[in-house]
Amino acid sequence: MPADTILKPMKILKTINNFFLSLKIMSGFFFVFILVACAGSLFLTQNLAFFSGIDETPLFRWLSENKNLKLIWWIYALIVLLGIIATGTIFCTIEGLLKRVNRKLLVAKLSPQIMHIGALLMLFGNLLTASAGFKADILLKAGEVRTVLEDKAVRLESVSVETDKNGYPTNWEAGLRWIENGSESVEHKISPTHPLYFGQYGIYSQAVSAGEKTALIRVCKDPGAIWALAGGLLLIAGGLGFFYSHFYVKPLSGRT
């Protein structure tokens, strides 16, 4: 076999490796990401009607239904940029973990990689949120049953509102039952920031009217949330390790 046929792919692999391991190049992508995110904020504010449904369905489904590239190019750009940054992060993490290191410097070596893994998990969580998930806002009257999905329904039993002396609502509660495959749960109370979880579904109280005995509830399923949370916690843990090792143990060396 000619040496060229082996060397050429090796050269290409090396070029790819150098590309994704270059902090300078990846920093460039970071910078472009920031610029695109800022530009996107302007598109959002200037096209409120167009973007009004973007938070109501998973992002990828919304993108498949809204194809006006002039208005949404920046979302595609953000996705591509995040993909490149994530790939660079994977390369950097693998390289960092493969290096041999003195046990004393273990925290210094591992903490940036823990941060990277945390960031990757956050991105993975966001990817799941953007591709799968469910969200429905339902207005219910007391005693009413509404179907959420094929075999899932919810029944509103009661509503109550607490107000201050000016009549401003300080808290409220909605009592409801979750019905799945025909079997009803016991009555549960939900209030702002105190949702109820049934399996992967969360039920959130958004508003109530004591006079009309109605409640606006939100039923959500977000498979990416737990991954994003795990990633966030890892990132913070790694960050603390990085701070400790960088400022109290040994400074890290420079890279190109």
């Binding site: 902090l23 300078k24 990846m26 920093s27 970071f30 910078f31 990401f33 920031i34 995110a37 800022c38 996107g40 904020s41 302007l42 959002l44 504010t45 409120l48 973007f51 973007i54 938070d55 966001n126 949120t129 969200k135 201050d164 401003y168 609502p169 300080t170 808290n171 409220w172 209030s191 702002p192 920031t193 105190h194 949702p195 969360g202 959130y204 958004q206 939100r218 039923v219 959500c220 977000d222 949330a225 994003a228 949370l229 966030g232 916690l233 990132l235 913070i236 960050g239 603390l240 990085f242 701070f243 960088h246 400022f247 890290l252 420079g254 890279r255 190109t256």
Partner: protein, 254 residues
């Protein structure tokens, strides 16, 4: 309630005055010698007292309203200035930091206290989010002030201090984003919305991530890194104050 029989306007005016007194005292902290130290100490004590009074008035931790949140940010900025300055005496740091603290207090005073906490904000996660957000911002501010001092004096040690401040600020900012995400998820069933605010917060987080990475690149340490760090605080300030004023933000449910 601290006041009985005093109108809403009287109470608001009282809290505006309460913030202007430490604002003046911090500015007087620039005085030479011990006198400056006494004024600074008096400002911190008075400032903490105002926050305690606001907490008593609200019946909750005074972190949520902009009036209190900016005041808390200013207090942390003052305390971090003291922490970084106490042993080393970073040249010009007082002239750079203390006026920013005073200006922040004046801005906080311009927001009228509302004294009502919406039901969705009555969550420990929201309080944690606001607390860590203020801490992170204050550290970004302190780091930027140290950066300006470095650019003026050229003392390399100060650039290291700027980096240190930005690193811990970024970690605390990340904590605030995680706690904020948990709060938002428990309130609305999602941890992300496509709003200008969310995009700018992400841009700020990425910008500081960029700064922390660039500092490791050969040739970026020193003046370029210091300038990038200072610009980061400008972006953070714009994210906090510019959205809704310079860039219109659609009304949201929170």
């Amino acid at each position: 309630m601290i006041f009985c029989g005093v109108g809403e306007e009287g109470r608001s005016l009282f809290y505006v005055m309460l913030l202007l007194i430490p604002a003046v005292l911090y500015a007087m902290g620039l005085s030479e010698g011990r006198k400056g130290g006494y004024f600074f100490s008096a400002a911190v004590i008075f400032h903490i007292t105002t926050l305690i009074l606001r907490g008593l008035e609200l019946g909750a931790l005074p972190f949520t309203e902009k009036h209190d949140n900016i005041s808390l940010m200013a207090l942390f900025l003052a305390l971090f200035y003291y922490y970084f300055n106490k042993g080393k005496r970073i040249k010009h740091l007082d002239i750079i930091s203390l006026p920013i603290v005073s200006v922040l207090l004046c801005i906080a005073a311009s927001y009228e206290p509302l004294n009502t906490i919406p039901p969705f904000q009555k969550s420990p996660w929201f309080y944690l989010h606001s607390f860590f957000y203020s801490l992170g911002y204050a550290l970004f501010g302190t780091a930027a002030c140290i950066g300006v001092s470095y650019l003026l004096t050229g003392d390399a040690e100060h650039e290291g201090d700027q980096y240190k401040g930005a690193v811990i600020g970024w970690i605390l900012f990340s904590v605030s984003l995680v706690t904020g995400g948990i709060w938002f998820f428990t309130a609305y069933g999602t941890y992300w919305l496509w709003t200008p605010k969310e995009l700018w917060i992400s841009a700020t987080w990425f910008y500081y991530g960029l700064y922390l990475h660039l500092r490791l690149v050969k040739g970026f340490k020193g003046r370029p890194a210091a300038a990038i760090g200072i610009a980061g605080f400008c972006i953070a300030l714009f994210t906090y104050f510019g959205l809704g004023t310079v860039i219109p933000c659609p009304p949201t449910q929170f």
